[in-house]
Each structure stands twice: as C-alpha cells, then as structure tokens.
C-alpha cells in the first residue's frame, strides 16, 4: 500500500514536470492515469522491492557523485588511449565475484561497470561477473574492488535501516 502510494506520487510528479499543465481538469486526467498505472502494476504483482528500490535511495545519493567522477576519469583515460598513435590496449576477460546479496545491487554494480568506459559486463551468473576490460589500468581499477565495496555499502545501509521494506 505504502509502495503503491509512493509510486503514484512519483508518477504524478513526473507527469506534471513532463506535461507542464497545471489546470485542474488536465491534472485530474493525469492523476487518474497515474492511479490506473499503479493499479495495473499491482495487478501484475510487480510492485515490489525490485521495481521500486526506495530502500536504496538515500545511500544512492552518496554513490552517484562518486560514480560520475569515475565515469569522467575513465572517459578521459579511454579517450587518451584512442588518440595515442600506437593504440596501447590490452584486452582482458576477467571473472570476478560480486559481494552484493540482492539482485538490485548486482544490477547497479554490473551497470556501473558497463557505464565506466574501459570495462563492460558480459555476463552475470549469480554473483559471478564476466567483465571485458580494455587496458591494464581499467582492469586494475576493477580488481581493486573499490566500486564493489561502494555498491555493497549502498546495499548494507539499506538492510540496516529497513526503509519501506
């Protein structure tokens, strides 16, 4: 119920921002369609922790800026590699074990790896990730496990305070 209400509020805010209509008849239609979507999602039975991972939202605010910084740094690194005449790449395929326990956190970790240029997640089997890396630097960055620890911290905080679960 709580989750449904939250989804409704989120959808309605997004609707308002995208439409820019603030007159009452149109807003009523907007609210009705948002309510319809919430009912549909409930009926499908997919209104759960995975569809709306609200419990991750607070710590996510700490992780996102760090991820942005990493993305910018690795972008510059890969751009340098591309512009270097000798093309100094060293492609490797690495299998690593993620320390997260929930699927949502693994998705965040796998997507973070792919978002960072120089590394891309090929396959996920349980907690085993298969990652392709472009240069030795990008492989070492991955093997240092800092991203893994930070994603785990996002998850750990969630299970500790138990928001909306």
């Amino acid at each position: 119920m709580k989750r449904g209400l939250l989804l409704f509020v989120l959808l309605f805010v997004v609707w308002l921002l995208l439409s820019g209509h603030y007159t009452s008849p149109l807003m009523t239609y907007g609210a009705l369609s948002c309510a319809g979507i919430v009912l549909l999602v409930r009926h499908l039975g997919i209104l759960d922790e995975e569809a709306l991972p609200v419990h991750l939202s607070l710590r996510w605010l700490v992780y996102a800026p760090w991820l942005m910084k990493e993305i910018v740094l690795s972008n510059i690194a890969v751009a340098k590699v591309i512009l270097t005449p000798g093309l100094p790449i060293h492609p490797r395929m690495i299998r690593l074990t993620a320390s997260q326990s929930s699927d949502v956190s693994r998705v965040i970790y796998a997507n973070s790896i792919t978002l960072t240029p120089g590394t891309v997640t090929l396959d996920v089997r349980g907690s085993e990730f298969l990652v392709h890396s472009l240069t030795s630097d990008s492989a070492e960055g991955l093997l240092s496990g800092e991203m893994d620890r930070r994603v785990s911290r996002v998850e750990g905080a969630a299970s500790a305070n138990g928001y909306f679960v």
Partner: protein
C-alpha cells in the same frame, strides 16, 4: 554573468561534441567488436552528458531543463543495458574473446596478474 554562462554553455557543447567524435574515431581504430564497444561508451556517457549539461545551462531553470535531466537519467540506465545486451549476444554466439581470468579476491587477482604477465609477456 550572462557572458560567463554563454562561455560555460559553449565549453560544455564543444567538449561534448569532441568526446563524441573521439568515440567515433575509437570505433574505427579499435581492432575487434569488444574493444569497439568501449569506444562507443564514450559517446554514450561523457559525450551525451556534456551536451545535455550545455543545453541545460543554456535554457536555465525551467521545464526544458527538467526534461533534459530526465533524458540524462534514462540514458544512464538504457545505454549500459544496451551495451551489455550487445556484448553478451556476441559472446554467447562465440565471437573471439580473450581467455577468461579468474579473480575472486584481491590477492588472487594480483597473482593472476603476475602469472598473465609472465605467461604472455607484454604483447597480446
């Protein structure tokens, strides 16, 4: 103040455009499918991000900027998903890829690193 904003807008747009072009150059220069996907991700992340940032600065604080923020968020969820789908499809179809190295802990990773270097030498 207005002049400063104009300058910031142009820096963002030009840098974004430059990163997109670098991504394109990488796409041509890289030797195989997997390495090309790394080059393409430059265009997806910093290229698109900087262009959106420049456009957002240009339009100021209004609904257009909010929509740009939405585009940014959607892009940051969909582009790694698409990249993952592409490389996974290529890999499962048996496209040539480097040998898999196991790395379950930091110590093992470092040992593997040393092994890989001694086995293969520098060239690949």
């Amino acid at each position: 103040m207005e002049g400063l904003r104009e300058i910031a807008v142009w820096i963002c747009l030009i840098a974004g455009g430059a990163f997109s072009v670098i991504g394109g150059i990488g796409l041509v220069r890289m030797p195989d499918f997997y390495t090309r996907s790394h080059a393409a991700s430059i265009t997806d992340t910093l290229g698109a991000g900087l262009i959106l940032l420049g456009l957002g600065l240009h339009s100021g604080l209004n609904l257009i900027t909010v929509k740009l923020v939405f585009i940014f968020l959607f892009l940051y969820i969909t582009s790694p998903t698409a990249a993952h789908a592409l490389v996974k499809a290529a890999y499962s179809k048996g496209l040539d890829a480097p040998d898999i190295e196991e790395a379950t802990g930091a110590a093992r990773a470092i040992r593997n690193e040393a092994l890989a270097v001694s086995r293969k030498g520098r060239g690949h």
